[in-house]
């Protein structure tokens, strides 16, 4: 199905199942521990051995010698794979660094070997007996130092300019010119990267934890240099990804190599302490923002320049994304520059671009409001735009940022905020309020599905879509139930297998809208087939209460399916609507934060958000997505910081004891409101993504609340107490 014109009324608009608060259909499996994750698939790989990956002890250099003799003699060892015996490997185009180092080492903890043994304990012990001599090379690890001379990054819209920014900024009576920094961050999803690989002749099956099944097949094919048809990837349950599992990582590649060498299935999980340096991370940014406004608060000049680093051939953190679209202003400039760093591979993490970009832009807006003596909610409303400001002939498909701000302010009690910082006190706590817009682009991706009905009237959906904790199972079941006119418990959803039709996968908050639109398309095909079989008019036939009806005739769906069942299949493909219209999701974050007047400790006390993301398919799982994003925003604002040791070139605090993410006590009550909007330009579902929106701007709202509480403006994330103390008054 081609989606090329705005959606009209369709069965989804009936909202019998879609849009209803629906607990996850996979919830009972999850809470009883019976949803099998990759590392638990003992059922599919009997007699498997265990692989433990040895990571590089240096960040850059060459492997001078690998001595595996001692490890090979260790009890239980079956095989050891290094670059010397792995055979010829390719490098997937999606990978910046290779999954197996050798002889060159590109980053710290890059895999240099895998040791396979009968038990996990034997493999872990033997892995420590692999001795590697390195010839260290000098690397570049400091973004601030590498920033000078960094070129514009490759890719679209890495440099944009409209009007005459320099002149307008110079002429503006009120300006902000500030530089913000955000640190490297780690995904720290609950489930570590894990894979069981098993070969059957020249065919390999990977039970793994991955967000994008078709990409995984492609990347394994490009790495192992075998045809895609010889690779099966299965990943029905994923314990979080946040972008860290968009592409296969060393667990999958090394498990496949190990299983080939050991001639039996091999199970591999990355240890928590390996993940931060072995896999990918969100790179640090340095962002300079300049805003110029007239005295009424209208922005006349807006510039956002951002720098990040990656290994040679890598990509940038596109932190200027939102600045191209969020606010009006005639004179504009954005630049995204990329330095070369020899840290582990920089890559996508939840809301790549907007997450760190909004951390800077939305604090700059707070600073501009203060200089104007204007309420920061009003400043944002005043500079709203209904068209792409770089391309005014391109309207937004559907944009209600102003409603989000107004409704959020009212619900939060924003009117009680003091414009002057440091005026509210609650015992030892200095209390402040902060606001930030939420903004994240809406992307749509081609997505396919197969839907069948059997003779019992059970509807089965199969698609290689993944559920990374987001609720895909449930919204897909809701979509099929709505389309086929059956209750939710008559739908079975099968996900995450490369034998199923190729879907959008989970990433960039495109999965929800795109994958359900694919299921919609498949259901349209199935409905047509059923109508044809019954001799009904396909356009007129209705599907409700387990029956197909046309005019006076009505047939049970089960009966229509017959003994052989009946199935349909289709793929939704998206035309130019995302080019002709700017499609994005919006919101407004409101935060109340406390700053301990003595110690500078920051605690978020209240948090609320109003969001505009088109049709909300399932308010229960959408809310969970958004509060997860808001919580990650608290982490980004206050604690997450993968610290680089510039002498050795690695992330030092590479475990969960020292890389802090929020704990329960850091996350207060969160109020979430969705506007009842529909966006007919996005898909037949009229939905958009919510998986990343809740994070975008949340950290800035925290930072603005901290400033309002204590008057200390920190432009260097995270906002730790040592930075607060520098500006905090004596007590």
């Amino acid at each position: 199905m081609k989606f090329e014109t705005p959606a009209g009324t369709n069965p989804i608009d009936q909202r019998r199942v879609i849009g209803k608060p629906t607990p996850r259909i996979d919830g009972p499996l999850k809470v009883t521990g019976t949803a099998p994750y990759a590392f638990e698939r003992n059922d599919v790989a009997p007699g498997h051995a265990y692989g433990v990956i040895v990571g590089s002890a240096v960040a850059k250099g060459r492997i001078a010698r690998i001595d595996t003799a001692d490890a090979a003699r260790a009890p239980g060892v079956i095989a050891i794979v290094t670059h010397e015996n792995a055979g010829k490997l390719g490098k997937a185009k999606a990978h910046t660094a290779t999954m197996l180092a050798g002889p060159m080492v590109e980053h710290y903890d890059q895999a240099v070997a895998i040791v396979v043994a009968e038990t996990f304990e034997q493999a872990r012990d033997a892995a420590k007996r692999v001795r590697v001599d390195y010839a260290r090379a000098k690397g570049r690890y400091d973004l601030a130092a590498a920033k000078a001379g960094a070129p514009i990054a490759p890719g679209d819209k890495m440099k944009t300019a409209v009007g005459d920014f320099a002149r307008a900024f110079a002429a503006a009576p009120v300006t902000v010119d500030a530089t913000y920094t955000t640190p490297d961050q780690s995904h720290t999803m609950m489930e570590p990267h894990a894979t069981i690989a098993a070969w059957d002749g020249d065919t390999v099956t990977l039970w793994t934890s991955n967000q994008m099944i078709a990409w995984a097949v492609r990347d394994m094919s490009e790495t192992l240099l075998i045809p895609k048809e010889k690779i099966r990837v299965v990943s029905p349950y994923v314990g979080g990804g946040f972008g860290g599992k968009l592409w296969v990582r060393s667990d999958a590649v090394m498990a496949a190599l190990a299983a080939r060498a050991a001639k039996r299935p091999v199970k591999v999980a990355l240890a928590r302490a390996q993940i931060m340096n072995n896999t990918t991370h969100r790179p640090a940014t340095i962002q300079r923002i300049r805003l110029g406004a007239d005295r009424t608060g209208k922005i006349t000049a807006i510039a956002h320049q951002t720098w990040s680093g990656d290994l040679p051939g890598g990509g940038p953190e596109t932190a200027a994304n939102q600045t191209q679209l969020l606010y009006a202003g005639a004179n504009r400039l954005t630049e995204t520059r990329l330095a070369v760093l020899d840290l582990p591979e920089a890559n996508a993490m939840r809301a790549p671009g907007e997450a760190p970009g909004m951390m800077a832009l939305e604090v700059a807006m707070d600073e501009l409001a203060e200089k104007l003596g204007m309420d920061p909610v009003r400043l944002r409303i005043l500079n709203d735009t209904q068209v792409d400001p770089e391309k005014p002939e391109r309207p937004f498909s559907d944009r209600h940022l102003v409603r989000c701000l107004e409704e959020g302010a009212q619900r939060f009690g924003w009117a009680r905020r003091s414009a002057t910082p440091g005026k509210m006190r609650d015992g030892r706590w200095l209390v402040g309020m902060g606001v930030a817009a939420a903004f994240r682009n809406n992307m749509n991706m081609k997505s396919g599905a197969r839907v069948g009905v059997d003779r019992k009237g059970m509807v089965t959906v199969a698609t290689d879509m993944t559920d990374i904790g987001t609720g895909s199972y449930t919204i897909i079941a809701q979509t099929a139930a709505e389309m086929m006119g059956v209750p939710l418990d008559k739908v079975i959803v099968l996900l995450g297998d490369s034998r199923f039709p190729e879907s959008a996968g989970s990433g960039g908050q495109w999965g929800g809208n795109s994958s359900t639109a694919g299921v919609y398309a498949a259901c349209v095909d199935l409905r047509r087939r059923i109508a044809q079989k019954l001799g009904f008019d396909a356009d007129r036939a209705t599907f409700a209460d387990g029956k197909v009806s046309d005019g006076g005739r009505s047939v049970d769906l089960a009966k229509a399916a017959g003994d052989d069942g009946i199935s349909g299949e289709d793929t939704i493909e998206f035309g130019r609507l995302n080019d002709d219209y700017a499609q994005a999701t919006f919101g407004a974050h409101f935060v109340e934060a406390g700053v301990d007047a003595h110690t500078g400790e920051i605690r978020v006390r209240r948090m609320s958000g109003v969001y505009d993301a088109g049709r909300i398919l399932n308010p229960v799982s959408a809310r969970s997505q958004v509060i997860g994003g808001m919580s990650m925003g608290i982490g980004a604002a206050l604690m997450e910081d993968a610290v680089v040791d510039p002498r050795f070139g690695y992330f030092v605090n590479h475990d969960l004891a020292e890389y802090h993410v929020p704990v329960h006590l850091d996350v207060p009550h969160q109020e979430v409101v969705f506007l009842d909007t529909l966006d007919d330009k996005t898909s037949p579902m009229k939905a958009k993504g919510v998986g990343e929106l809740g994070m975008c701007g949340a950290a800035a709202a925290v930072a603005n609340a901290v400033y309002n509480a204590c008057g200390v403006r920190i432009r260097d994330y995270p906002l730790t107490l040592d930075k607060v103390l520098k500006g905090l008054a004596r007590v």
């Binding site: 002890a57 240096v58 009890p75 304990e121 872990r124 012990d125 420590k128 302490a273 030892r428 301990d596 003595h598 110690t599 500078g600 400790e601 605690r603 206050l638 604690m639 610290v643 040791d645 002498r647 050795f648 030092v652 605090n653 590479h654 475990d655 004891a657 020292e658 802090h660 929020p662 704990v663 329960h664 006590l665 850091d666 730790t720 107490l721 040592d722 103390l725 520098k726 007590v731």
Partner: protein, 318 residues
């Protein structure tokens, strides 16, 4: 984890003798720190002597009016004990500010005293660390040391001791009771129990090879207002950036202040306590005399003073 042998000891003296007798042996109790370190091969004992079934898990009154806390009393039980909560509130509060409920259920009194530093370079076996590998150097000096020590450091080590419990015990003048491999017992004042790193940072306590902690005793209660204030980068499940254990207005004597997160041991300067009338500034100045900071951890000096001010204000209001 390296392969190791295992035995279950029959008595404290037998356990001490077994560890002294067996090369590369260590005691294991709750295992909450040791097993993690063994998995990373930071600790590589060849033999473990399990002391979990030796009793030593009760809290008894002493003839002097204090309490004797068995070495194997779990942190959860100690924090919840009615006498501890009533008479030694600072200890109970320190305990519940540490780790997580699950860890406190397993962690023992003796094990808590013996837990090892959380310096990130100690935790990465690819990096130099004099504590882990004597003579290899200290990567923390000149590296990431925002949360490391400012007092009692040496050119070989700037690690901190991560315990909360030990800080409160220092303020309470606890005594560590031990049994030696030859069966003799001795008592070590908590002030003398942990050592400064000096040129031998791998030697962390006054214990000799095979010597086993059997109990910690606390003197008779001193009354006063007990406060434990832990300052950290997130609300829970984080080691102290700094902490203050305070006993204010005790029945006899002056106020007491011990500090965590500043040194290789709980830090207490008794002379500073005579300056309580001078307020936080005077106490901090005396307690932190000789502090040596890096470009990252200098904030601990004003933070100690400010936290003391907060503690004094809280105490005045109590």
């Amino acid at each position: 984890m390296k392969p190791f042998t295992y035995e279950r000891a029959a008595s404290p003296a037998a356990a001490a003798a077994a560890v002294a007798r067996t090369p590369g042996a260590k005691f294991v109790a709750g295992g909450t720190n040791l097993l993690d370190l063994m998995k990373l091969q930071i600790e590589t004992p060849r033999h473990l002597v399990d002391v979990n079934r030796l009793g030593l898990d009760t809290i008894e009154p002493t003839a002097e009016g204090g309490i004797r806390i068995g070495a194997l009393v779990r942190n959860t039980a100690l924090a919840a004990d009615a006498r501890v909560r009533r008479d030694y509130g600072v200890l109970s509060r320190a305990l519940v500010s540490g780790a997580s409920g699950q860890l406190r259920n397993k962690a023992t009194t003796a094990g808590n005293l013996l837990q090892r530093t959380r310096c990130p370079y100690f935790y990465d076996t690819n990096q130099p660390c004099n504590k882990r590998q004597p003579g290899s150097g200290c990567a923390a000096i000149g590296g990431f040391n925002r949360n490391l020590a400012i007092l009692g450091t040496s050119k070989d080590c700037i690690a901190t001791h991560p315990s909360d419990m030990a800080v409160a015990m220092r303020a309470l003048d606890a005594t560590v009771e031990t049994v030696m491999p030859n069966g003799q017992t001795r008592r070590i004042a908590i002030a003398d129990f942990h050592r400064l790193p000096g040129s031998t940072p791998w030697v962390e306590t006054a214990l000799v090879a095979g010597e086993m902690i059997t109990a910690v005793t606390l003197p008779a209660p001193v009354g006063g207002t007990h406060i434990y204030r832990k300052v950290r980068d997130r609300s829970s499940y984080a080691f102290a950036t700094i902490s203050v254990a305070a006993v204010l207005r005790p029945t006899n004597g002056t106020a007491r202040f011990a500090f965590g997160g500043l040194a290789h041991k709980p830090w207490r300067v008794e002379a500073a306590e005579t300056r309580v009338d001078g307020g936080a500034k005077a106490i901090a100045a005396a307690a932190l005399a000789g502090a040596q900071t890096t470009d990252q951890n200098g904030f601990k000096i004003p933070l100690v003073e400010r936290t003391l001010a907060s503690v004094l204000a809280e105490g005045a209001a109590a």
